[in-house]
Subunit: 555 residues, 2 copies
């Protein structure tokens, strides 16, 4: 009676596994929020579905529900009023542990089929998810549709593909025949079964709940670990919808729906630490602060812990043969989602003697002014601006802008803007400062939000050395470099190997340093303090399961 | 000028990768210590080479050598007197770090070729290595040749194969072309480079320096991490020879020989903790005590730590249709290397009401007596006995036998034997006790050495439940079960999935519960407290390296 989701999605899964090998462009989930692709009514229906959630209880199937909890407010200025189930984890966790065996014994293919079906259904609900992401994270709508919807789905499927391949690259049964000279060979029948590490805990982040959450969620699920989704208390809805869809598919496939469960808490009564140290929890995925990430790494010895934490991303500008393209590209990167991406450049290193460009030599101040002017121009049309910068997710981020302005000479002031649709939206444009490289205090820590520094260095060598040291000490997820000389690019590449950071070279077109494409680009390397894992590679899945062997003499 | 070792070994490496997938029998290193295979003079030359080492300095190429160190004594009763280089790690570590870039930039194939060449040369020196293993660990000669020589080489090549595959399953360069509707596609050229985590530290164990050491050593080396080999101070020589061979091959291949280095310490002045916490160390492999393994896991946050620790291995006897075969098989397993294997069964659970066999019903006492008598008979010929049990590696193990005898009713006393060749060899036969299942204190911790317990339980269900609890709490590397009923085997199999232990069913022939074959059997699962890793799987290699990407617009 249960659906064969593996058969249904096998071709997609095979293509996904192949894409992770070739790393060519591939995506099964179209990123355009277009009626031609998703249906003429999809946009309206998605918005209506989102609105119908507001001020209602959100129903999920989980043992141990005891009341309601919810405190979300849209960065665009209104309360969501959604009430999520409050769960007694002392009832939920044993129930999930009890449901583990059936999920484990289903095997990798069945699990991969269920995961692919969940992702396909999420894809069909991308408009609804986009509104949910927009009104919890503050992302603008198109970005919420892409980064929160289709690109997150890509990253989820990528994790499923890695997990399926890791579990199936070796046989599940074999006949082992060892020659014994003139005597009969030794013959053994062996069976190899995948077991999960236990329950998985996915701790969601407030800004990218799905994009940063799906890799861990689906990597754990496909490898047999039932998953507790613990969203940020201010960004619950996108993950609640995800859990709802997962439960629907699990049930149809004949499994207990609470194999994917949602535990919602509040800022006042957080439950993550308690959950993370439970002996049943064998895998933890976390995106968020360095402080809490390190706490998890150092205190949850029973679990495999994957973290993405803070970092300081650098751009090294040595020279360019396309000043306009460079400025436009950087202006977009600094503006996108008001710098609230873990991939937004913060520190832009420029030699104090200036740089060579296709428009002649530019002094350091001229470079700084060109970038500031690029951002000002890009954001001059308020409708276009707000469709890119979105809103500030947390009040603390907005407050940080004012404090940061004291750290250097302001070359572009942060403005508070009105949003054309949402009165009371928390909209801020980027702040750009000039500082001297000697003023390390100013630029050597993450200043999360729309805050960037243009830093005067002794030379490009000095710029590279400072970026390298920062990445090794504070972490970095992205680097960019602008140089017309292959020798400079090579030296930046060498530094990247040392610092363990990926580099985008001379971006002047429609690819941005803060964006990575699933199946092709790795997000973070796991080789510097910004993250201990990469999205997605074999290391991200291989430790989520184990193999148990039984062997006997062949009959 | 440098040799193309990858081309030379490519076929072997391809076969090795294939074997890890099919898990059929395969080995490139013949296990028979035979003149027909290794050359008529190999045995004599190997012994002579070993003897020529005694009471001499052992030369290796490493920066920072400051004097000599060495305190090895053969368990067969004589001092080795070998003096190893004493190294100043504050000079060695920076030098190894400096040599890292060339090894990293050589790429996976070159590194795999070098590793395969090292293993081939070690294979040719298997007789010499066998004597070195014998006279440090106490293993009998044939076992030292196999477990210390050829089987260790198998495990090393297995790790190389996993590492090579993990690094090369994805492309190193790609052209990424993203369609943009009617506009030109976005085109990027991307390059992906493997970087190591840093330096690797392999901490050797006194009993299986090569078998337990090669997987970590070669997994780290093939993934680009220069390796510091830190042997147990009483078991240095087998790893010193390994480092010598590695340095010879590295040099021929054009690399700094100290990319594999040996740091020898003493019991009085151990250096492992200091080394393990150095920031340059990114990977640690350890086999040994639970206490020290947990210390490494909890205190070396900068490194990926792989540990194999203590455990309590169980056999569950429910019934058998081949009593003689069962007894002979168990007698060998309990005797081999005097129970000094991490895979030796310690706890044998038998229902107190006895079992059904092909020779009728046997009471609990009759089962215990049959096993004791099997061991007694197997060891009745002293020459045959000493060729299996070897010598006791450490005095503390010999002392433990006497203390353990007080824990239950002795059914087989441990004897002190004379060795036919070596006066003063520390030879002990197995001690077997009877205890009641209620006496958990007696059998619920690892009693390393030739000590086993036959435990009276309420039923086979009780036996399985106790073995399961023990494995989950104290760890286990091996389980065996004897049952004529598939239902019982299935229940043991279910328990194995829960406890995370591999099971051998009804072993009555020439395969033993304490032996695993590389490329087919996994050694440990990593799913219970006995080990956090398995030899060898993808998880064992995937976290030893990272990928750094560079991307630029396609020209």
């Amino acid at each position: 009676m249960t659906q064969d989701f593996y058969a249904k999605h096998r071709e997609t899964l095979d293509k996904a596994m192949e894409a992770t090998r070739t790393r060519e462009f591939w995506s099964p989930y179209p990123e355009a929020p277009s009626g031609k692709i998703y249906g003429e009514n999809a946009a309206a229906e998605g918005e209506a579905a989102f609105k119908a959630r507001l001020h209602q209880p959100f129903k999920l199937e989980m043992p141990g529900i005891e009341g309601e909890v919810g405190e979300e407010r849209s960065p665009y200025g209104f309360d969501l009023g959604i009430r999520y189930p409050k769960v007694n984890v002392n009832q939920l966790v044993p129930a999930m542990k009890h449901s583990l065996a059936a999920w484990r014994d289903a095997g990798p293919e069945v699990r991969a089929g269920v995961c692919a079906e969940i992702l396909e259904r999420l894809n069909k609900r991308s408009f609804e998810v986009a509104h949910a992401v927009m009104h919890t994270t503050g992302q603008a709508f198109v970005m919420a549709f892409q980064a929160g919807g289709t690109h997150a789905q890509d990253r989820g499927l990528e994790a499923v593909a890695y997990g399926l391949e890791a579990q199936t690259r070796t046989v599940s049964e074999t006949r082992w025949v060892k020659p014994q000279g003139k005597r009969d060979p030794l013959e053994m029948d062996k069976r190899f079964r995948v077991i999960p590490r236990g329950l998985a805990l996915m701790v969601g982040v407030s800004t990218f709940p799905t994009w940063n959450g799906y890799p861990g969620l689906f990597a754990s699920l496909v490898t047999g670990n039932p998953v507790i989704v613990k969203p940020h208390p201010h960004t619950v809805l996108p993950l609640a919808i995800t859990v709802e869809v997962a439960q629907e598919v699990l049930k149809e496939a004949g499994f207990d729906p609470w194999i994917v469960s949602l535990v919602t808490d509040t800022r006042e009564a957080p439950v993550t630490k308690e959950l993370a140290q439970r002996e049943e929890v064998g895998v933890i995925d976390f995106t968020g602060s360095t402080e809490f990430g390190e706490w998890l790494e150092r205190n949850c010895h029973q679990a495999q812990v994957y973290t993405e934490k803070a970092g300081v991303n650098s751009i090294v500008i040595d020279s360019t043969d396309n000043l306009k393209g460079m400025v436009q590209n950087l202006a977009f990167s600094l503006s996108l989602y008001s710098g609230q991406m873990c991939t937004t450049p913060q520190d832009i290193f420029v030699p104090r003697d200036g740089i060579e460009t296709d428009q002649g030599h530019l002094s350091f101040d001229e470079v700084a002014d060109a970038i500031a002017e690029g951002v000002r121009k890009f954001l001059s049309d308020n409708d276009r601006a707000t469709a890119v910068i979105g809103a500030i997710q947390a009040e603390v981020t907005a407050e940080r802008i004012g404090e940061a302005a004291k750290l250097g000479e302001v070359v572009l002031e942060s403005e508070t803007r009105e949003h054309p649709q949402f009165e009371g939206a928390r909209v801020r444009t980027p702040l750009i400062l000039k500082v001297d490289a000697a003023d390390e205090q100013a630029y050597s820590r993450e200043l999360f939000g729309p805050i960037s520094m243009i830093i005067a260095t002794d030379s490009t060598e000095d710029s590279i050395a400072r970026a390298t040291r920062l990445a090794k000490e504070k972490g970095a997820i992205t680097w960019g470099v602008y140089a017309t000389d292959e020798g400079v690019l090579a030296r930046m590449g060498e530094a990247a190997l040392e610092a363990g950071v990926s580099v985008s070279e001379n971006l002047t077109g429609g690819v941005y340093v803060n964006q990575t494409a699933a199946f092709s680009d790795y997000h973070a390397t796991g080789a510097n303090p910004a993250a201990n894992a990469s999205l997605c590679d074999s290391a991200f899945v291989a430790n989520r399961f184990r193999v148990v062997e039984t062997r006997r003499h062949a009959a």
